[in-house]
Amino acid sequence: MRKGITAIVIIVCVVAGFAAGWLFSPFLTGVTRVSLVDQIKARGYIIVGTSSDWPPFEIFNTTTQEFEGFDIDISELVAAELNVTIQWSDMDFDSLVGACTAGTIDMIAAAIMVTPKRAEELAHSVPYIRVNELIIVRGDSSITITKLEDLAALPAKSVGCQSGTTQEEELTDANVDYASYVSALSMLTDLDAGGIDVAFIDEPVLGQYTAYGFKSIFIVPAEPTALWCKWEEPELMAAINKALLEAFKDGTMDTLIAKWF
């Protein structure tokens, strides 16, 4: 009997400890608020979160051992504005928002589209590009649709999307019973292998997977993409926006778009 009580007490203590840590951890870093921009400048680097399986936006080139892509170049502009270097944090796409909220990363550059739901959690910069989303099928498939809701008529779990993306939200809104994947790679591999019949993906990314011979059957215009950081750090957001707007003004943005798309 006492054993049971002790076990319960321990569980309660552990939970309470986690709660206390969560509540009081902000105070451990010091009561006076040091803005993230000052912290970044003091340590000399900004931690940018990305998900490196999304060319031409971002990919880790295993030959040159460097990140490359449109978002990577844009982040370099922000880093130049702050006069710091970039340290990349490469994680799954659906972990990024949580990581930024927790402060593990300072900024997200992962072709994240602006949606109201995300804007509740994080602040976004001025949008810098807008791409289309495609409904794709295998080359020999005969599936056709005229609107997104038509996908709901397909068998359950035959539509795939990447978890945490806008595509996932749109499929949910369209009442489609979809399968969600951690990466675009595993989704398209599964599409090729016949695990799913339809995939929903950003148009530019498909360029990396031309060898599979998928065909597009429907185009969905998507929201523009932006860089993201915490709402509590308006100074950092101001710096990000300044870098982006200057890139638009002096034509750097056009050069980058021509380079990657």
Binding site: I11, I59, F60, A102
Partner: protein, 228 residues
């Protein structure tokens, strides 16, 4: 897409770029688990009822939480716990802490079994020779218990090295993440790359468990220790 690499070059690429981090996570996780597990086992065996309950309660809680959840708790849940470390290495410490705490729960069971399987008569004999309980434990029981624990400890190593692959989820560049990067560059090589990862983990698991585990079990049998 540039020219497609052959499998050996993928193998060595993953080995060079990913494995050091995997081994570091495994080593530090096991070390943390060893210290924690041994202390918990001692508390459980010699600590009487009160300390014993703490130890067994800890095991029951930690064994019931998936490792990925622990990792998320220490990195995204309570990001402030490592405020004194520079922000870049925080995820690494979070994962090591999670691995250590979890491994500690399992290792405490393992060491408890090892300590208990040393004949209690030896403790009585040592006390009769005038040793204190601590001296008897330190010089008589512990050396034998640690040796008895080696085979099952090698099994714990096999568990931790594979569990360290969860670290990829929080942005740590270890073996699995490097493999994902390779396959993102060469989508058609996805399946072979996963095969290469499987081989790497196997190479670093099987020979060690075999060498340490099976050989030690035989040796111990020869010495007449343990049930094998």
């Amino acid at each position: 897409m540039v020219e497609t690499p052959d499998l050996p070059s993928i193998f060595f690429y993953i080995l060079v770029n990913g494995l050091p981090t995997t081994l570091l996570l495994t080593a530090l996780g096991l070390l943390g688990g060893f210290v924690l597990g041994l202390s918990l086992a001692i508390m459980r065996v010699y600590g009487g009822k009160d300390l014993g309950w703490i130890s067994s309660g800890y095991e029951k809680v930690l064994r019931g939480i998936p490792l990925l959840v622990l990792i998320y708790i220490f990195i995204f849940g309570i990001p402030g716990i490592f405020w004194f470390i520079d922000p870049l290495t925080r995820p690494l410490f979070g994962v090591i802490l999670a691995l250590g705490l979890r491994s500690g729960a399992y290792q405490s069971q393992l060491f408890r079994g090892a300590i208990l399987s040393v004949d209690p008569g030896q403790m009585i004999a040592a006390r009769a020779l005038g040793m204190s309980q601590f001296q008897a434990f330190r010089h008589i029981v512990l050396p034998q218990a640690l040796r008895l624990a080696i085979p099952s400890w090698s099994n714990e190593y096999a568990v931790v090295i594979k569990d360290s692959s969860y670290a990829y989820a929080v942005g740590i560049i270890e073996t699995l993440k490097v493999a994902f990067r390779v396959s993102a560059n060469y989508p058609l090589l996805w399946a072979p790359t996963m095969g290469v990862v499987a081989i790497i983990y196997f190479i670093f698991t099987y020979p060690i468990t075999r060498m340490i585990g099976e050989r030690q079990t035989k040796k111990l049998k020869k010495l007449g220790m343990g049930g094998g």
